[in-house]
Symmetry: C2
Subunit: 172 residues, 2 copies
């Protein structure tokens, strides 16, 4: 879709805002975010992107994404669970969880084992390597990632932030 209109053709567009020419091409300077700054969803998304970006940097030596880290953590704290249970509590759809597990399993961080009591389901277990990687990842996250966040916000604000986000995720 190409455009043929010119600035002089401001027919239906109207309101060239008196004293604001379409050719005053450069008011250099940052654009006004305006009411956007008051939109919680906007700041939320922006902050989330930054935090994930930093998470990736901090844990880069272990080549773990936030999602993969969360799977390992959950497996460690909930042994004997199958794919559906783990995927559900992380909000991952079962079909999408398959490839994720394939990746983790191919790196020998976890393993699927057929349950003897229900031969449909796969019991998920961390391997020793998986536990080792998780332990190193936890340290990197705590010392490099979360530490920086706490330093930025202050410990009490950080705790309050966590509390509010959890509340939103839970009750909103």
């Amino acid at each position: 879709m190409t455009v043929s209109k010119t600035a002089a053709d401001a027919a239906k567009v109207s309101r060239p805002v008196a004293g604001q020419d379409l050719d005053a091409s450069s008011d250099d300077g940052l654009l006004q975010l305006g009411e956007l700054s008051g939109l919680l969803g906007y700041s939320l998304k922006r902050a989330q992107l930054r935090v994930f970006e930093d998470f990736l940097r901090c844990v880069a030596p272990l080549q773990l994404t936030p999602a993969q880290f969360s799977v390992l953590l959950l497996l460690d704290q909930n042994p004997g669970r199958n794919q559906t249970e783990i995927a559900n509590t992380l909000g991952i759809l079962r079909p999408n969880f398959v490839a994720m597990l394939d990746a983790l399993e191919s790196r020998e961080l976890c393993a699927r084992m057929r349950s003897a009591s229900d031969r449909r389901s796969h019991i998920l277990v961390l391997t020793d390597k998986g536990r080792a990687v998780l332990a190193r990842a936890k340290k990197l996250v705590a010392n490099k990632h979360e530490a920086r966040l706490i330093e930025l916000l202050g410990p009490e604000s950080h705790a309050a932030l966590l509390e509010m986000l959890a509340k939103i995720a839970r009750e909103f």
Copy 2:
């Protein structure tokens, strides 16, 4: 990639956690999020998904996504800007912004007009319809969406949350 291991084949996996059989298949009850709840990135993402979901519901009558709403808002507050400027301040890559604008323009919410001073760039303008839709959207967002959030958190916590998220987006 299929799996042939059985639970009895827990060779290298080890630590079946004494007293925790792989066949105790159902400890029904919610899984332990554990240290995941302390991970800011995790709560951040979860909260963001909830908030966007609610945003979509609230503004559904106008068929606007959060990204589209942010574009309209930005256009309104920064007239006379071109695609690159708007896309950059929203963190949208120029190639991806093209289709977004096509969609908004096909609905006659905004228009691209060739600048007389630089015939490469398109000056973006809200149409009257665009301004009308934006006005309605702002009301829906304020009265239905943000209002619910403020009710949940309380006004002062809501403000503090906004402040912290902005700080993360800005300084982290």
